[in-house]
Amino acid sequence: MTDRFNAVPRQEDGTGIIDLVGVLDGDAAVALTEAYAAAAPDAERILLNFEPMTFMNSSGIALVVEMLARARVEGLAVHATGLSAHYRHIFEITRLSDFMTIHDDMASAVA
């Protein structure tokens, strides 16, 4: 499949934002790790933007869990925005939503 994953890190007022673009599956591991490494050092918190994500499977969930575990060790809170109703449901049944603050949109996430 050609729908490559891309994780784009950027900073905004102490928030390390990672835009998750495309398919978040097992192949996204390297890109996601690199994006986190770039976003985390100067950030007070991490914001994952799922808005540009087109698909996520159980391997993608595992990558999010892995990142969440790392951020907890480093004392960084993880926020999320841009989740569709379906993925928000998945975040609830997997209890990921218990460990990250979920915002309805980017404006409220960076406010």
Binding site: V23, S58, A62, I90, I93, T94, F99
Partner: protein, 528 residues
């Protein structure tokens, strides 16, 4: 019934006025009483003697070879006044020597006699009240035990029964007042087949309920091990033997039915035989075996039968066939057989009809002697499955998204709610990914077949790979806390997602192929 109180007590003042002058604070005061119990053997001759004498008896002058007389004297009793009520000795009034150290006068005796005549009926009333209180306590204890037994039993009976498309599965259970040890169970297995059991524990009350609960759990556990019915019974028999109290055993009929083909396989551990309602009557399906828990190492013969649409299988407990009419005639197996046969051409209502006949036979006000359990499995009609779409995918990485999009297209006409359609898509992607990676081991030359079927009341996506002979492990909810602590791998979400996102997951496999069916109920089921 009169209870002879063996313990008589005497109340004797031992203190004189002179003593009281020297009494320490907190010590005995004049008129204080000591209570010394005196045991009287129910066969002691004094009891017959007291029953026959007209009034108070002076112990000093009494010549009777009686241990009780010796004990009473030793306890300081001088005079015994029999208390007689309705001609029965119900107690005695025991007195020590008079404080004046003179003997009891005739007036004293007359006074005591008249006191005894009035005290005896009052004492008798008090005794009766006590007896009734004791009986009430005993009744309450029995009621509590019954409630415990009923609670245990109800907890271990299924609250809902699986209803495979085209089938009607019904059960009726009515406990007797004393609660026997009947049970039944119906479970849909991961491969879509139906495992069912009806059993009866000998004995009643709490012990039977405990054994029933254990047996039901062992049957469920053995049923998960993909054993045949005979294997399930043999395993449960071995596990029960040794643990079950002696003289207790369990009869049980255990079967597995494939609702798609009507194939039935069952084995029997000494339970009542099931009836198969056929077009023209009813057959008793015969299978024999030792009840569970009696002897270890038993094997159980398996019987096979293929049911046809329109046929019904009826299982029952002996509470039905051994019910009695007011004239002590027994309901009996032939009567049940005839009832099943007569209703062969009618559809539905078999349990209601058996219960109505039982009620007519036993009459009004019948005190049910034993638990009654009935279980019927009726193939109403052949489930018509229509294949909506069918396609084979290569085992390539990322193919799950292609399969997911294709399934989404195939189910458009099914008019699923958007949230349910999204859930199905994710479940399909996970199942196809499993088929590629685990079933086909990533071998791109091996196909993954995906079939979308509309069956009565359910939409099914069947995903088949070439990994025959494997089964999906039982999925536990992943422990995200442990994963975040680093105590568990962050992976392991796939099966959990599949099971959470569709209404049912079934799997079946033969030597070369393995199929997972993702099921969405289409009869008004709530979105998952």
């Amino acid at each position: 019934m009169t209870t002879w109180t063996q313990t008589l007590r005497r109340r004797i003042s031992r203190r004189t006025a002179e003593d009281s002058a020297h009494a320490e604070p907190g010590g005995h005061q004049p008129g204080d009483a000591d209570v010394v119990p005196v045991e009287i053997d129910p066969n002691d001759p004094i009891l017959t003697y007291l029953q026959s004498v007209p009034g108070p008896v002076e112990l000093d002058t009494l010549e009777l070879d009686s241990p009780a007389v010796r004990d009473l004297r030793a306890a300081g009793v001088a005079l015994v006044v029999p208390l007689i009520s309705s001609g029965e000795l119900i107690g005695t009034l025991n007195l020590g020597p008079r404080l004046s150290e003179q003997g009891y006068s005739t007036d004293d005796r007359r006074l005591l006699d008249s006191l005894a005549a009035q005290a005896a009926p009052a004492l008798r009333v008090a005794q009766l009240v006590r007896e009734q209180e004791a009986e009430a306590r005993e009744r309450q204890k029995i009621e509590q035990e019954l409630q415990v037994a009923q609670l245990i039993q109800q907890h271990f009976l299924p609250t809902t029964l699986p209803q495979p498309p085209g089938w009607s599965i019904e059960a009726h259970y009515r406990p007797a007042r004393a609660v026997g040890g009947d049970f039944y169970d119906v479970v849909e297995r991961p491969d879509g087949r139906i495992a069912f059991a009806v059993g009866d524990v000998t004995d009643k009350g709490v012990p039977a309920a405990m054994v029933m609960a254990a047996t039901r759990s062992l049957l469920r556990s053995a049923g998960r091990e993909d054993l045949s019915p005979g294997g399930v019974l043999a395993q449960v028999n071995d596990l029960l033997h040794g643990d079950i109290p002696s003289r207790m055993f369990v009869t049980c009929l255990y079967g597995i039915l494939d609702p798609r083909t009507g194939e039935l396989r069952f084995a029997n551990a000494g339970h009542n035989l099931p009836f198969l309602q056929t077009g023209g009557g009813a057959d008793e399906l015969r299978a024999t075996g030792m009840p569970l828990g009696l002897m270890p190492g038993m094997s159980y013969v398996e019987v096979e039968h293929v049911l046809k649409p329109g046929q019904l299988l009826l299982l029952h407990s002996d509470g039905v066939t051994e019910a009695h009419a007011p004239d002590r005639e027994m309901f009996g197996t032939p009567r049940l057989h005839d009832l099943v046969a007569i209703r062969a051409d009618e559809r539905g209502g078999m349990l209601a009809s058996v219960l109505a006949e039982l009620e007519r036979f036993t009459g009004l006000g019948w005190e049910q002697e034993d638990d009654i359990t009935l279980l019927s499995l009726r193939w109403e009609s052949e489930a018509a499955a229509s294949t909506l779409a069918e396609r084979t995918f290569p085992s390539q990485p990322g193919i799950e998204r292609e399969a997911m999009a294709w399934v989404a297209e195939a189910v458009v006409a099914s008019d699923l709610e958007p949230a349910r359609a999204e859930n199905l898509k994710t479940a399909v992607a996970e199942a196809v990914m499993n088929a590629v990676e685990h079933g086909n081991g990533g071998d791109e030359t091996l196909p993954v077949e995906v079939r979308v079927e509309q069956r009565p009341d359910e939409l099914v996506v069947a995903i088949t790979d070439r990994g025959g002979g494997r089964t999906i492990p039982i999925t536990e909810t992943p422990d995200i806390d442990a994963k975040l602590r680093g105590d568990q791998t962050p992976r392991g979400w796939g099966l959990f997602l599949i099971q959470s996102l569709v209404d049912a997951v079934r799997e079946s496999s033969d030597e070369s192929r393995h199929t997972v069916e993702l099921v969405l109920h289409t009869d008004g089921g709530e979105p998952t």
